[in-house]
């Protein structure tokens, strides 16, 4: 496929005796929303950690925008254009909301120590620009009114939104979200869904881990299902949803019915 943004082959990670991720192949097409689902402990978050360089893969090949790469180091991966959020929210707690987003712009900006010390005009312009853009992003995710709160003062759901804004600040080609809807109620999920669709329509490619089947099936163009580290199904949501193996391992009766 020519419009494949990220392609992964044979991704494997072992923890002691446990193979958390087992020869996973995954292709993410440019401009789509790809879902990664599976029962708890299937290895989804581990996949994220592998792609973003937090864990070192035991095996696996990666291609991003047509180039081979190996995710050694999270910072390099970030520079490459892959941003993520964390399942257990990891915000910069002592920074304000807007500052959190400004950190997200780290790779987008360049002022160094000297420029900062001398307050060069270029640095001041950059700062102003970053702040403006950050506020815009906060507005985009709907928490602009809390811009000057500390990140730790936000409620759970707002913290999730902030994480998304911070990741968006990195202007990533691929945005990987680990359970963004966790802890949100139905109507909040609807708002999130709109947000995600908007992000996608603004040209970002999304990789989404989410347990809310309605949400996943509603917005993803392809879905990969993991179980015990292995891919058990892959394809269009409508088809995956009917896969007996997926129902058995993941969906259970309730969602099957609804």
């Amino acid at each position: 496929m020519s419009n494949t943004l990220l392609s992964i082959r044979g991704l494997t990670k072992r923890f002691g005796g446990l193979t958390a991720v087992d020869a996973v192949d995954l292709d993410i097409a440019q401009g789509t929303i790809t879902g990664l689902i599976g029962p708890n402990g299937a290895g989804k978050t581990t996949c994220f950690n592998l792609i973003t360089g937090l864990y070192t893969p035991d095996e696996g090949h990666f291609q991003f925008k047509g180039h081979r790469f190996f995710p050694h180091n999270p910072a390099d991966v970030a520079k490459l254009g892959i941003a993520r959020t964390f399942q257990n929210i990891r915000l910069f707690q002592t920074m304000t909301v807007v500052e959190n987003v400004m950190v997200g712009f780290h790779t987008q900006s360049k002022a160094g120590a000297i420029a900062a010390i001398l307050r060069l005009p270029s640095q001041r312009d950059e700062e102003r620009r970053l702040r403006d853009q950050s506020l815009k992003l906060l507005d985009y995710v709907g928490i602009a009114q809390h811009a000057n709160y500390l990140a730790s003062e936000l409620s759970y759901g707002h913290q999730r939104r902030l994480e998304i804004a911070r990741a968006l600040a990195m202007n990533p080609s691929l945005l990987a979200l680990d359970e963004p809807a966790a802890g949100m109620n139905g109507s909040e999920k609807l708002q999130l869904k709109e947000l995600l669709l908007r992000i996608a329509s603004d040209g970002k490619t999304l990789l989404l881990i989410e347990h809310d089947v309605k949400l996943v099936m509603g917005i993803c163009s392809t879905v990969t299902v993991l179980d015990y580290g292995k891919v058990i199904a892959q394809g269009k949501p409508a088809i995956v949803q009917k896969d007996p193996a997926v129902i058995e391992a993941y969906l259970g009766g309730l969602h099957h019915a609804g």
Binding site: L54, P74, V77, R90, L91, V103, H106, K110, N148
Partner: protein, 355 residues
Amino acid sequence: MLVAVALVALPWVVGDLGNSWLRIVNVALLYVMLALGLNIVVGFAGLLDLGYIAFYAVGAYLYGLLNSPHLTDNFEWIAAQFPDGLHVSLWLIIPLGAAVAGLFGVLLGAPTLKLRGDYLAIVTLGFGEIIRLFMNNLNAPVNITNGPQGIYMIEPVRIGTIRFEKTVHVFGLDIPALHLYYYLFLALVLIIMVVSLRLQDSRLGRAWTAIRDDEIAAKAMGINTRNVKLLAFALGASFGGVSGAMFSAFQGFISPESFGLMESVIVLCMVVLGGMGHIPGVILGAVLLSGFPEMLRHVVAPLQEQLFGEVLVDAEIIRSLIYGLTMVLVMLYKPKGLWPERKGRNSPSHTEATT
């Protein structure tokens, strides 16, 4: 503006009370430089450094060696090169002190990058001790540091033709050297303060805070944590180096005992007690902790004499006791320091908005 006038006038006011006060102020300014430097490492980047005084030592020895007869006395080839002795200009020594100490900062920082929290503390502590021990022992086989005896007859600061010695005639004024040191130190403190403030409120400063709050998330933001941490070590160390060089000149004598572990600990206390990461707080902490015991010195014994007609309990005991208890009490009542930063809902701007 008022502050500026006050700062300029200070030595003349204080000097009238006695030069010891001015000396205390000068020493306090040296500590402010140190504390601001450590604040970058501990306060901004959250790296607990218990060996910070090593950079102070490096700066001090650099100045001491380059401005005293020690090297020419011990190394003939140096004496041959510099028949009039070594006299390195202030304009050279300050950047040099900053640079060399900064280099040491990077050397020290490099192996600690992988370490977290308190492991970092002990490794830096170890490095600090190693530096001190080297200075204490490098008098043989070649006498580089003169070992425990330290370096004598270090020349005072010289700017152009002005030597900071006794009383100096400048602009038709008789200015005591202590006053000149005050202005020099004050200028350096102001520079360091401005540099700190600007760094804090910059891309780099945010990267430091990000690392302090959550290193993994910081990495995921594309921050090269290794470089950014090393930069913190280097910048923090360079302030320490400048302070050390000034100490050396001011004191005229340095020996390894001035650079022990407790000194690192005290500077850390200044940073935390004042309000870690908050520059005005850190300055307050440094001024208080360095000035406080000296203030007690002027107060405890006379007060006892006034109250009881005699000194009942040795002044120095009361002094240590108060010093120790103060640290505990300040932390108990102000766990974030005396003057912490206020951000978020509790920030001044927010409280203003609500009232």
